[in-house]
Symmetry: C2
Subunit: 446 residues, 2 copies
């Protein structure tokens, strides 16, 4: 955990060309594994393996997960299979599974037999956890102790196990069959009298998550209690793993990016903007643009059927569509973020609808006023001008209600409400907005 | 850190009515402070103080920050001033400053003289840190040691200081004048030989952030290195505080919500959707809807000036506007998220522009095809139908380029690129889209 004073790629290449193993090892040992990954990322795959091979496998296993996943996959493809098996054995359980999920299943089946049996079992278990569950976030490395030893003995045991820094600070107290009965922090162990019993010091019935619990809820619990890690248990309250603070932070950051992209009608890239291949970038945007083009085509067809009595009504089409779309987006985003942060539950749907009704009523009135003034400028008389405020008012109300109802429906169907996000809402509200406009114009001008 | 088996509000009220101080204290001691805050939130302000007053001040100070900030403010308003001074002294430095920032400045000036001098100094320092800086995220409580003691002595010192769990796991090694020279984790101290010197065990020149560094960069560093905390230094490399993992997680979650709301044209609520007052909710949406109504009014004025030769051109207005707006949103969101996660820097602007140019070229062609087919359905001949694909192509290209350039300009001006987010981009692209449509129609049909 030392500052990177990163070596430049040319210097590194000189050391590689000279086979300066000692020098390479010296540099790598002085730096945080993340820094080693960062400064060496510019090397070719072959050179990068040459660098890694200068280090002990355990050290390679520390550095490897810090490369972007796409790069890890590339590196795996050119690696010696036997070496890969050893490397996977040494990697943290969560990191190696993240990598294996990205690989071609055939390649995984080819590599797995080269991994020791216990680790292989662990890998298969983690691979089987559904996405976005506690199981998918957890690691199976944790520190545990029995309840009937003293604090002094406990510290001595930890010393001999030397768990890594991700898992040493929270220690779980287990009964037979890995049954989770308590929790103690390293802080409390250190501060306790050495002859106090772990069973007396520990906190009983620790807050935990079940392995199939959605990752949203894992994040909410860990954040609410400021935990370093949260234990993951099965249906019989047996400890199966822990989710650590750093993995939660990574998940939250990735989710935030995914959601922002989804809200802007982009299938989440899952990688950096500059790293993504142009074709993949085009596809992930194009598929949504095409869908939205299709819904926009409906607005054209609807308008073609409408022979408005007055040309000036045409001027206001973009304004009507934008008013509905904007208020729909607002409502949808508020409900989606409130559901995902845990501020609202599905059970709050009545309160949400009531609030949305009240707010959109006020917003509708707010926009109807400039709408009327604008209408006056183009309509031949004040009565006809009323078409605009009446439409804007209705479109804002309908847009807001549609925007808040759609994510709620998605959640009640067990789907991710974020899937019913802004682009969908806008597309629906666009068409509805034009239909409302036509209806209002027909009624008022009749 | 024990599971909440939360007491119900009626049971709690019975205990309060009976003045059952022992019982209340028993319940509060068994639970995590976050759980105490959660289950007692339903009480009236007066009842809540009655509950808190049953506990020692230090315990009150642990629980208090777990109430939502708005509730903390309400509680402060009805509290005894003298007691408030003592409570603030015991609260964690970052939590109390978060609260004080929400209070009326006059009230703060009234309370501060009641706080002990050293703490008051600390509060004023933290209050002076600019928003969204490392200083605004940090706490001033941290564990530190000199370099010239042994690991055994170090552990004994930590025992006697008993720092709280937020700060005991990373210990900073300081020279005279709080100069930061190294870092050692509690893990490494425990695993070391007791007579090894801290100065030999520590890692030198630890990765740190400067107090004025933007919070984005603090998040990126802490996440990249999986740290529990990151030290904050001044210009002379003197340690002034630390930013801990839990505060970073909270900041990232809040930022994600703020950004999502901003992208949907809502001034960030800064509180839960169900907690926000209806008037404030209406205002935070209404102000943006009104601005966007204003820009949409420009589209109406532009259209009013246009006397299109053919009525069918009018049908495609929403489609043209949507195509530009959607591709503009995509580009803006990609650039904004890439800048805020650190995937791109401003210096990458040439690469960003090149990529956006290539992708939007492909997207333009992709949408031009259905555009042509749709045009054929309404235009009298294929040449006239070409207006639609030509417009869609141009609008997608211009929309994408405007969308990626605006956040870059904002960043280069030192502003938050997220301010130039989707609603602004859409509003600009809407008007530009219609102008392009008019221009293309005039040229093709001439």
């Amino acid at each position: 955990m030392v500052t990177a004073n990163p070596l430049l790629i040319p210097e590194l290449r000189v050391m590689l060309a000279e086979g300066d193993v000692e020098g390479l090892r010296g540099v790598a040992e002085e730096l945080h594994p993340a820094s080693v990954a960062e400064f060496s990322e510019g090397l070719e795959d072959g050179e990068l393996w040459q660098l890694l091979d200068a280090l002990p496998v355990a050290h390679q296993a520390d550095i490897f997960p810090y490369y972007p996943l796409a790069r890890q996959v590339d590196l795996v493809k050119v690696a010696d299979r036997q070496h890969l098996g050893t490397l996977l054995e040494k990697m943290a359980p969560d990191n190696r599974v993240d990598l294996l999920k990205e690989l071609d299943p055939d390649l995984v089946e080819e590599i797995l037999p080269l991994v020791a049996k216990a680790e292989r079992h662990d890998i298969r278990m983690l691979l089987s956890c559904p996405e976005d569950s506690a199981g998918a976030l957890m690691t199976t490395e944790y520190a545990s102790l029995p309840a009937d030893i003293t604090a002094g003995e406990a510290v001595a045991r930890l010393r001999s196990q030397a768990p890594d820094s991700e898992s040493i600070y929270y220690i779980y107290v287990l009964k037979a069959d890995r049954l989770l009965v308590g929790f103690i922090s390293l802080r409390d162990l250190i501060l306790a009298r050495p002859n106090a019993l772990v069973g007396d010091l520990m906190q009983e019935d620790p807050i935990s998550v079940r392995i199939e619990e959605p990752s949203d809820e894992v994040v909410q619990k860990l954040a609410r209690y400021d935990f370093l890690a949260i234990p993951v248990v099965d249906d019989h309250n047996r400890l199966v793993g822990i989710v650590t603070h750093d993995d939660v932070l990574d998940a939250v950051r990735q989710d935030a990016t995914d959601e922002a992209q989804r809200a802007a009608a982009i299938a989440p890239l899952g990688e950096g903007y500059l790293e993504a291949a142009l074709v993949s970038l085009t596809w992930k945007r194009g598929v949504w643009l095409t869908i939205l083009f299709g819904t926009a085509a409906v607005t054209a067809m609807v308008l073609a059927k409408w022979k408005p009595a007055h040309e000036w009504l045409m001027y206001f089409i973009p304004l009507v569509v934008a008013s509905g779309g904007n208020s729909g987006n607002q409502a949808a985003t508020l409900v989606i973020t409130a559901l995902s942060t845990g501020d609202c539950k599905l059970a709050d749907w009545k309160r949400i609808l009531r609030r949305e009704f009240a707010v959109s009523l006020m917003l509708g009135v707010l926009l109807a006023v400039p709408g009327f003034l604008l209408g006056l400028a183009y309509a031949p008389d004040p009565l006809q001008a009323m078409v605009i405020p009446a439409t804007v008012f209705s479109v804002v109300m309908v847009g807001s209600l549609v925007g808040c109802v759609l994510p709620l429906i998605f959640r009640s169907l067990g789907l991710d409400p974020a899937l019913m996000s802004n682009p969908f809402v806008s597309a629906i509200v666009d068409v509805v907005g034009i239909l409302i406009y036509m209806a209002v114009a027909t009624v008022v001008l009749a």
